[in-house]
Subunit: 107 residues, 2 copies
């Protein structure tokens, strides 16, 4: 039983958290800026960041009063490998994938 898979998959199951990760692909961000596009309180987003942090999917570093969030893509490796064992997927349609990411961000 892998606690890592539990926490990583659970973290990825929430659309807000996936949107946050997609945002962080662009650049490191402060907590306040991460929260900005969402229609929920800063405290709620802060909790999401804790969950992403515990799953290892992001790291946070405090500089001054600003806490910077950085994505840690390698934390997905175990989960990604796990999934890949379950099928040989067709090649990626990258255009479709881009559109999909757009939708995720708006979602």
């Amino acid at each position: 039983m892998s606690q890592t898979l539990d926490t990583v998959f659970a973290a990825l199951a929430d659309p807000t958290r996936r949107a946050i990760l997609t945002m962080l692909l662009e650049d490191d961000m402060a907590v306040t800026d991460v929260a900005d596009p969402f229609e929920m309180s800063l405290a709620a987003v802060s909790k999401h960041l804790v969950i992403l942090s515990k799953a290892g999917l992001i790291t946070q570093e405090k500089r001054g009063r600003v806490k910077w969030c950085k994505i840690e893509p390698n934390a997905m490796k175990e989960a990604s490998v796990w999934m890949q064992s379950f099928g040989k997927f067709e090649e990626l349609d990258m255009d479709a994938f881009e559109r999909f990411l757009e939708a995720e961000l708006e979602g």
Copy 2:
């Protein structure tokens, strides 16, 4: 926002459900046989199968009084592609991966 990603990742977040999927990699199985190795009621396992089913990760076909469960690896495609966008992972250590799958089954 993708309801599919929500349900697939949520389904994979539970170790019992991942173990079920790993079992189904070997062969299609009846509900009773799926439930056998787990220390929980048949009803509980049945619920897990419903969740896997709704996520599209398995299909179930009733023949006689037996309901057969079949893994549908392609349902992981979208989620797998999503994850892969977040990093270029090092090459897989396949021995480690085998050991990991063993542990999952025992978990």
